[in-house]
């Protein structure tokens, strides 16, 4: 499982929003492992289960099980460290 990352835009500045795009679908094991980076909320009763992870420093990772991408929204103060922690975690998972 490999990934690429890109900045994504929203209505506002958008400079701290990134999309992580994998070459295969995200499954529940991946989500639970990623969830160790913070508090995991997992909405399994939605037609396609949604997850949201909020780290101690307020950054958020969210996406949908079965999709190939998830979004990372870093807080201003957590942009470098949060991105590094996330990408280290991804290295350990893939």
């Amino acid at each position: 499982m490999n990934y690429t990352t890109k900045k994504v835009e929203d209505c506002f500045d958008g400079s701290r929003i990134f999309e992580y795009d994998f070459d295969s679908a995200i499954d529940s094991d991946f989500i639970r492992n990623l969830g160790t980076l913070g508090k995991l909320e997992y909405f399994k009763d939605f037609p396609r289960p949604f997850f949201r992870i909020i780290t101690k420093r307020g950054s958020q990772f969210k996406g949908v099980e079965g999709e190939k991408t998830f979004k990372a929204i870093f807080t201003r103060s957590d942009l470098e460290k949060g991105k590094e922690d996330l990408e280290n975690k991804l290295k350990s998972l893939i």
Binding site: D10, C11, F12, F43, D45, F46, P47, R48, P49, F50, R52, K62, G63, V64, E67, K71
Partner: protein
């Protein structure tokens, strides 16, 4: 997963029957060049002009300038208008950035002062504030949104524009959200200029739009270049619409728009179903605890905006789209000033916008999705 498309205020989908085929057909045959080669009978631009003039109740089709979209049309109107130093333009807080940004760029260059009139909690301009400023400032131009892309509220522009014209102002209507879903003529609303787009309620392709410019307004061309006529001149020809249309247009897209306009002519009541559905959707949303919807009285376009207590608007729209397959829009909707008055600043709203092709089943599914989101 089945997809439901509730983002018609951005771009309508599906298009009117036959539009896609016309675009494909146009791309598959020898190109026609308006003013350059081919016969008038083949000219999709001319067909669009005729049908748009008819829709707007205009005698002279050549006062319809075809552009890429409303943004271009509004830029043509605002940057092409012969403002004098320190002129005032009155506009409203309901405007889209396609009006606000040109006005602010003109303000920065010192050419004019925009005066922004507040709106009420449903997104409609407050008439008393407007009339007060109109008398006080005697603006050179009034630019108003016909229908809000955030709340769907249709402004009662007729008395506003009439009063402006009585004081000598030029009136510009941004009909991006209304043209095709609300019936009106330029004259009935006292509009000197009407900017519109083809890719929303007119049910045509993206890359089509235009502006009606009445005979009492002379715009300078913002873009000049090849026209296929009077190529001996080193300046843009004076004839309308050529004066304001330079370069090769997207004929496949305008072929599609002409088809959409023909369909709309035959299906004049096409938005009546969407009007019924938006009321059902609004009533359903109002019954769900944990959602605040922006109440918009009739007349309106089939648009509703709301916020959720449990989710940010960005997150709610993401979940609706990715988990439930409901394509909608979140944020400021390119109308940054209205949210202060709706109580939805700084993050904006989730917006559902319907089309004539939306169904009761889709509305019921969307309400069910919202109920699940608020549990």
């Amino acid at each position: 997963m089945k997809k439901i498309y509730f983002n018609n205020a951005a771009t309508s989908y599906p298009k009117a029957p036959g539009v896609a085929e016309k675009v494909r057909e146009s791309l598959s045959c020898i190109p026609f060049h308006p003013g350059r080669s081919g016969s008038k009978a083949d000219d999709p631009m001319d067909r669009c002009r005729v049908l748009l003039a008819e829709m707007l109740g205009i005698d002279d089709k050549n006062r319809i300038i075809l552009t890429v979209n409303s943004t271009y049309a509004l830029n043509f109107a605002l940057f092409g208008f012969p403002f004098r130093k320190n002129d005032t333009v009155i506009t409203s807080a309901a405007e889209h950035n396609s009006v606000l940004r040109p006005l602010h760029h003109l303000m920065r260059s010192g050419d004019l002062h925009p005066e922004i009139i507040p709106v009420d909690s449903g997104g409609r301009i407050i008439p008393s504030e407007y009339f007060k400023k109109l008398e006080l400032l005697k603006p050179r131009m009034v630019v108003l949104n016909h229908a809000s892309n955030v709340t769907g509220a249709v402004a009662d522009v007729k008395p506003l524009f009439k009063a402006a014209k009585d004081l000598g102002a030029v009136t510009l209507l941004d009909a991006s959200q209304s043209m095709g879903s609300i019936s009106f003529t330029a004259e009935s609303l006292y509009a000197d200029m009407v900017a519109f787009t083809g890719h929303k309620s007119l049910l045509g392709p993206p890359g089509t739009g235009g502006i009606y410019v009445s005979k009492n307004v002379e715009l300078e061309p913002v873009i000049v270049g090849g026209t296929g006529i009077r190529s001996d001149l080193l300046y843009q020809p004076e004839d309308m619409p050529t004066r304001l249309e330079a370069g090769t247009p997207s004929l496949p897209a305008f072929s599609g728009l002409a088809e959409a306009l023909e369909w709309k002519k035959k299906n004049r009541e096409d938005y009546s179903g969407a009007d019924v559905l938006i009321k059902k959707l609004e009533e359903g949303i109002q019954d769900i605890a944990g959602i605040n919807s922006i109440k918009s009285e009739s007349p309106r376009t089939p648009v509703i905006s709301f916020t959720l207590k449990k989710w940010s608007v960005e997150e709610a729209a993401y979940i609706l789209q990715e988990s439930f397959g409901i394509i909608c829009r979140s944020g400021l909707h390119c109308a940054p000033l209205i949210h202060k008055y709706l109580g939805t600043a700084p993050h904006g709203t989730v917006r559902f916008s319907l089309s004539p092709f939306s169904t009761e089943v889709e509305v019921a599914y969307a309400l069910e999705a919202l109920r699940k989101l608020t549990v």
